[in-house]
């Protein structure tokens, strides 16, 4: 199935949960926050939240700024 993550269209396996996807990217770190279809997910939701075809995902973290 197709999702859009950080503006890029990607193909991922059906049934992938947010936790699975983060682990594939090596991003199981508390410094990354996940917004899925406009909703911010809490860490507890990563395990249960399955991505859907067409899901729009934003992975955000702190970067340098003034």
């Amino acid at each position: 199935m197709k999702i859009v993550c950080n503006g890029q269209a990607l193909e991922i396996a059906p049934g992938t949960r947010v936790a699975d996807y983060l682990s594939q990217l090596g991003l199981e770190t508390p410094s990354v926050v996940v917004e899925c279809d406009g909703m911010i997910l809490s860490r507890e939701e990563y395990e249960s939240h399955a991505l859907q075809d067409g899901s729009v995902l934003e992975l955000i973290r702190f970067v340098g700024g003034g």
């Binding site: 993550c5 950080n6 503006g7 890029q8 990217l25 090596g26 991003l27 770190t29 508390p30 410094s31 990354v32 926050v33 917004e35 911010i40 809490s42 934003e58 992975l59 955000i60 973290r61 702190f62 970067v63 340098g64 700024g65 003034g66």
Partner: protein
């Protein structure tokens, strides 16, 4: 000691984390500046380089993160970024910046006030970045901002405190700390702001892009301290006229 929203700060210099040549230089510079609060921005993770996390070098116990909403062009975008910042473990602290004009990056007063009203209700400790407009500063305080951050001059211009007259009014009227932000390009600029009675200053570019950022950070720290001590010690007034204390001209009517 400086207190913002109940939290005490020994240093009146706040640092930025942008524009450094490397995370290591940033870390060393912030250490040399003595600052305890640093601004950070929020951006998408680079999916081609997901492990690149420059914030990993900063000790969160040592530095309070002040996430900003840089890039937001209206209240809605700023509110979204604020919520993401909180979810990222940024706590309730927020430097609110709404800059619709990409050329000057001057803040939008109307959207800033709107966003402040919403975010204060959501429990954020909002420090709005504003043009040096005294009435806006008051309105933001009424709306619950925990500090105000008027600009000295447009961001990145290194022109110093061009808004001196308005910042003096903001300081005189303020019920919350006043942090002068943006445009402070040299230690003499921050000393000037602190001598005027600013509660703190925020410096990023001038340290990050200096020839030797670590030594420059130290210079800014000293200037902030010097300016603050001068303010507390009471500067002599600039004389408007050289008139010595006069005899009682014009008071002959007194009995």
């Amino acid at each position: 000691m400086l207190t913002i929203a109940g939290r005490k700060f020994r240093s009146r210099l706040f640092g930025g984390t942008g524009k450094f040549s490397s995370p290591e230089v940033m870390k060393e510079s912030l250490a040399a500046s003595g600052c305890e609060m640093v601004t950070v921005a929020l951006r998408r993770v680079d999916l081609n380089n997901p492990a690149d996390d420059i914030m990993r070098v900063l000790d969160r116990d040592r530095y309070l993160f002040l996430p900003n909403t840089s890039g937001a062009r209206d209240a809605g975008e700023a509110i979204r970024l604020a919520r993401l910042a909180r979810a990222s473990g940024g706590g309730e602290w927020l430097k609110l910046e709404v800059t619709p004009d990409p050329r000057t990056l001057l803040p939008d007063p109307i959207e800033t006030l709107k966003a402040t009203e919403v975010l204060v209700k959501e429990g954020f400790k909002v420090l709005p970045y504003i043009n040096a407009d005294p009435i806006l500063a008051l309105r933001l305080q009424d709306a619950g901002a925990v500090a105000v951050m008027p600009l000295g001059s447009p961001i990145g211009t290194n022109q110093g405190v061009l808004t001196r007259f308005q910042i003096e009014i903001i300081i005189a009227q303020a019920r919350v700390p006043v942090i002068v932000d943006a445009g402070l390009g040299a230690p003499s600029h921050v000393a000037e702001a602190m001598e005027m009675g600013a509660d703190a200053v925020l410096v990023n570019t001038a340290i990050a892009v200096a020839g030797d950022p670590v030594r420059m950070a130290r210079a800014f720290a000293l200037a902030v301290e010097a300016g603050r001590i001068a303010y507390e010690a009471g500067l002599g007034a600039v004389r408007k006229d050289a008139a010595p204390s006069s005899p009682e001209d014009g008071l002959g009517f007194l009995r």
